[in-house]
């Protein structure tokens, strides 16, 4: 190869590498803008609110005096609602995804369901609130309760759980399915012994991403009639005597973190805005904690699985 030729090749490579670099820099820039904006927002809130965050803040009910007011009812409410949401949405969503992915015939009906599920993920949350008000509150008489709120949010995140679970199932290579079938496994054995364990980490991540969305939802909870000022806790789920657990809390009135925030922000007294910032900080902390758990669990379940 002549030296002239080599020079030309290098110029050519240079040109192409430059385009490559331009994109890399552009991408980095975009990411920085997005992350910095987010960090800025969070930081501002933390700076505003951190002074109010103390043990008392977590153990006090709301009060007319800003510095005495706390988020006890709100975080307990949020936690209990999340439990209901998770218990309702995860098994339902995973089961639906398994059916759609592994059992349903690929026909027009399946396509219709698929389009519907995807679209449901984009329906404004207030619409779910209205649906829940009509269905759970008026039709089933579940009241303006933790149960109603949990089920409402479960409906809201069901599409997310279904879609992420389907993707997790689809990611399992076909040769593992065939290996199981070739040994005489039934479809259910194949799913239960292989598909579910191998995709467990991803399914869990999807569920937690869904719950992270639910934890911040305000509109549908207000629609079904959550209280904004509440100075008592629901019944404890744990009992001293047999059977040690109780489900009375499901029927209790409640409030949740975002509503508490909303309530404080809308007061004229600026002192309450500090409370709102503090509650927001706690809420973000809760979300981060859930995502952290998701990442850890995914690591835990995937470190032994590769293909």
């Amino acid at each position: 190869m002549s030296s002239l030729n080599l020079e030309e090749i290098r110029r050519n490579i240079n040109r192409r590498q430059q385009i490559n670099k331009i994109f890399a820099i552009l991408g980095l820039l975009v990411i920085f803008v997005a992350i910095l904006t987010l960090l800025g927002l969070i930081l501002e809130m933390v700076i505003d609110g951190h002074s109010r965050i103390s043990p008392d803040f977590f153990t006090s009910f709301p009060s007319r005096k800003p510095e005495k007011a706390g988020i006890l009812a709100a975080w307990v409410g949020t936690s209990l609602v999340m439990v209901v949401t998770a218990v309702a949405a995860v098994p339902l969503g995973v089961a639906a995804a398994i059916y759609l992915e592994e059992y349903a015939r690929k026909n027009l009906l399946a396509d219709l369901i698929e389009i519907n599920v995807t679209n449901l993920a984009g329906v404004p949350s207030i619409v779910y609130g209205l649906l829940a008000l009509g269905l759970f509150v008026y039709q089933f008489n579940l009241g303006e309760s933790i149960l109603t709120a949990g089920l409402t949010l479960a409906l809201l995140i069901l599409p997310v759980v279904i879609v992420t679970t389907r993707e997790a199932l689809r990611a399992i290579p076909n040769n593992l399915r065939e290996a199981a079938y070739a040994l005489g496994a039934s479809k259910w054995q194949m799913i239960w012994d292989h598909i579910l364990p191998y995709s467990f980490g991803s399914i869990l991540t999807g569920a937690i991403v869904g719950l992270s969305r639910a934890i911040g939802e305000t509109a549908p909870i207000i629609t079904i009639g959550a209280l904004t000022f509440i100075a008592f806790l629901p019944d404890s789920p744990l009992r001293e005597e047999f059977p040690y657990i109780s489900f009375a809390w499901l029927q209790a009135p409640f409030t949740v973190m975002p509503i508490q925030m909303f309530n404080w922000v809308s007061r004229p007294n600026a002192e309450f805005h500090i409370n709102a910032a503090a509650a927001g900080t706690v809420l973000i902390g809760m979300t981060l904690m859930m995502n952290g758990i998701a990442i850890y669990l995914r690591y835990l379940f995937r470190k032994d699985i590769k293909w």
Partner: protein
């Protein structure tokens, strides 16, 4: 019951393919296949890429049932039962006929659980019985000595050749009547290939083997019978020595001597 080939070779048939046509949707991949698989012998399926070897092999364990649109016509008789009949549950067929795939595909589980799975599927959970069967299968697959101290390790940490032998152990643990191999060494290096070939020659006293291979040498080295396929048809079937010495079809001759393929 015995079968006689054109030049007087006599063997005991294990399975009989009769007028088999197979369709992927509207595409016909197998055309009127007739083949008798001899019992406790190695039968090799050879032929150029895309001629339908894998398709034919996967008819034997009804693997095609897993995907919509696939259609069989004709019969495969296994002890007088037509295993392609719709009323025969594919699970029943797969419990009698095991398969080893082209690419090693161990489950992301422990070595022990990989081998034990075929038994667990059948509802066998007694530890003492599983232990014995797993050891027997691993010995049968010439893997026991390498893994006996780390049965609880992940199967995916084994080398490619070891993984394939694990897949063979997994296929053997259920005492199958036939084991299907689809180019089991094509993803392996020469040394691993040699050990798998040796293993397969050892197996043929115990079980009927049907193996797809693209390597003429492999077919010649250890198969007893060879079937040559071309464009979805089975052109020739004979004792391996006979076929390699004096193929009766021009196509077979060209393929064996490397002029096509």
């Amino acid at each position: 019951m015995a079968e006689e080939l054109s030049d007087g070779v006599i063997f005991k048939p294990k399975a009989e393919v009769k007028n088999l046509n197979f369709y992927y949707g509207s595409v016909q991949a197998l055309k009127n296949i007739n083949l008798t698989v001899p019992e406790k012998q190695v039968t090799a399926l050879i032929g150029p890429s895309g001629c339908g070897k894998t398709t034919l092999l996967r008819c034997f364990n009804r693997m095609h049932d897993l995907y919509p649109g696939n259609r069989y016509e004709g019969q495969i008789l296994l002890e007088r039962i037509n295993i392609l009949a719709p009323k025969v549950d594919p699970i029943e067929v797969r419990m009698r006929i095991s398969m080893v795939f082209q690419k090693p595909n161990p489950f992301p589980k422990s070595i022990y659980e990989n081998v034990a799975y075929g038994l667990r599927v059948r509802g066998e959970n007694k530890r003492s019985l599983l232990d014995g069967k797993v050891e027997e299968a691993l010995r049968g697959a010439a893997l026991w000595n390498e893994v006996k101290d780390r049965l609880n390790d992940l199967a995916l940490n084994l080398s490619g050749g070891q993984q394939q032998r694990l897949c063979i152990a997994r296929a053997l643990v259920v005492d199958p009547e036939i084991v299907l191999f689809d180019e089991p060494t094509s993803a392996l290096d020469p040394i691993a290939t040699a050990s798998i070939e040796e293993l397969m020659s050892d197996l043929k006293d115990k079980v009927t083997i049907l193996i797809v291979t693209h390597s003429m040498q492999q077919a010649a080295r250890f198969s007893d019978y060879t079937a040559f396929m071309y464009l979805g048809e089975l052109l020739e079937f004979n004792k391996t020595e006979t076929m390699f010495a004096k193929p009766s079809h021009k196509m077979t001759e060209d393929y064996i001597s490397g002029r096509t393929g």
